[in-house]
Amino acid sequence: MSLAGLRSGIVTRGVRHFVTATAAIAIIAYLFAYSGADDSPTIHSDGYCYYLYLPSWAIYHDLSFDAMARDWFAGTYPEHIALRRWPSSGRWLNPCPIGTATLMAPFFVVGDLLSMWSNLPRDGLSLYYQYAAGFAGIAYLLAGLSILRRILQRHFSDGVTLATLVSITWGTNLFHYGVFDGTFSHIFSFFLVCLWILLVERWWEQPGWTRSVALGSVAALIVLVRHPNAMFVLVLPLYGVSRWRDVRGRIAELWRRRRWLIVAVLTALAGVIPQAVLYRLTTGAWFVNPYRELGGRFAFASPRLFDVLFSTQKGLFFWSPVLLLAVVGAVVAKGWTRGVATSAIVVFLVQLYLTASWSNWQFGGSFGHRAFTDGLGFAALLIAACFDWAASRPHIRRIVALYAATVVCLSVAQMLQYWTGNLPYSDTTWDQYRESFLRFR
């Protein structure tokens, strides 16, 4: 076998086994992070709020969160848990919507049944519940990567697919949000956005009942996991648009498919009804700003665009420099990716503006900027476009490969620093960054 043939075989096997290998690494990493007696629990911080629906509803049979507050906190949730009583009704409003808990539910049920079987306390937070929630994050990371691999394999070579999967998994905070902070909403959104890309592609190829219902269901879940992610719906009309003159044709095509579009929209609306009902029960209104009582607000006139993109605090490209390849990809993309690039850019710009305008633009403690983890599926397509473009240019290929390998290694090192407490959770200054650079005390 020639050297090229051997390399090709290795790459093909790499693509085939990538998700399995990531699963093994993720499980080892999770156990490393959470199996010690002194470790903080898997369900923590924002993850607690996203998860809270499950024990509250399934164990305490209580939609109001009161029973759990009484049992654990003598009636009032602590300040660091983001639930607040809605002033007019006095009921607890959970600012984290129900989508993450919905996706976690199968894992929770297993944890609950095992807790009963092993005589562990059915308190919603004991050992098996923690593991169940942790493995849910890992499972959705793997499911998202699996879908992404499928999309990439359809449009790119095995070499480009493998390089992209490695870059997006370890060159960004994706792995971190699948494993270390797997109870936050981001990995669930990543999975749904990947599924959304796949379904949108299939729907434009050939719409039908099944695909339209699936599209509407995934759109609903995207909104239920994180409301601002409704912006990803824009991908549907923008899919395949790469020039202004495509817009008219796209509108006409949407009109021609209006029957299927209505099916998708009605399904999506039906899917978000439970959340609206919950808001209604809690606040008296069908739609609310769930962060109102936490003081969260937008300052649209003074967005922190530079900070969100480049600052040492949480700068997207500062902490995940591999994503600069996605910027290159957006410019050089051709063929199918060109048609996806427009929607990816539009969604990214909307997300950037919203994030930069939000009062807590750093999004609290996080590794890298977690607001953008949800859309990494799109970034992966653009990174693949960059690799594909570089593949046929030997000099550029070497530079891109060296750059990607370096920043992926840097990202992994920094992720481990973050896990071991050697990087600040937020508000990192340049001096702090320089002092702790690649230090594992």
């Binding site: 002194d38 906190f73 003598a74 005589n119 306390p121 937070l125 050992l127």
Partner: protein, 145 residues
């Protein structure tokens, strides 16, 4: 037996074996829920705080259990702090902590309740928590007879 059926059989057997093991795992004695980390103040007894509820395991053949408790902070309206103790989901006793500074060491007979498991679960429910850490009561290492 075809390959698919063999896989199903092997999977089912593995599941049954895992469930049989998890019915009464030997490591359960070290599992807790709702406790903070142990604290080792110099010259004072070792302790750990509970939250509003906490669970721990004791050996299944124990007939009496004693868990040292101290409230440190008074209960609602300056009254006593109460801790409801149950064993394997059955009510056992209510311990009343009237003096916040005093350690209470009530011995609680477990009666004739038998168990086929290696461990019994003890659940503690405290009637108040103290902010900002949301601590319930201080507890020492349990003693069993």
């Amino acid at each position: 037996m075809n390959h698919r059926r063999m896989k199903w059989t092997a999977g089912t057997l593995a599941l049954v074996a895992a469930l049989a093991y998890l019915y009464d795992p030997p490591w359960l004695g070290g599992v807790t829920s709702g406790f903070f980390q142990w604290e080792y103040p110099p010259g004072e007894p070792v302790f750990r705080w509970t939250t509003g509820r906490a669970s721990l395991f004791i050996p299944g053949n124990a007939t009496t259990v004693m868990i040292p408790m101290r409230s440190l902070f008074p209960g609602p309206d300056g009254g006593p702090v109460t801790v409801r103790v149950s064993v394997d989901d059955r009510f056992l006793a209510t311990i009343t902590l009237t003096d916040p500074g005093a350690w209470v060491r009530d011995e609680l007979p477990l009666g004739r309740r038998s168990t086929r498991r290696r461990h019994r679960r003890i659940d503690l429910r405290v009637n108040r928590v103290v902010r900002p850490r949301m601590v319930g009561v201080m507890t020492g290492p349990p003693t069993v007879w």
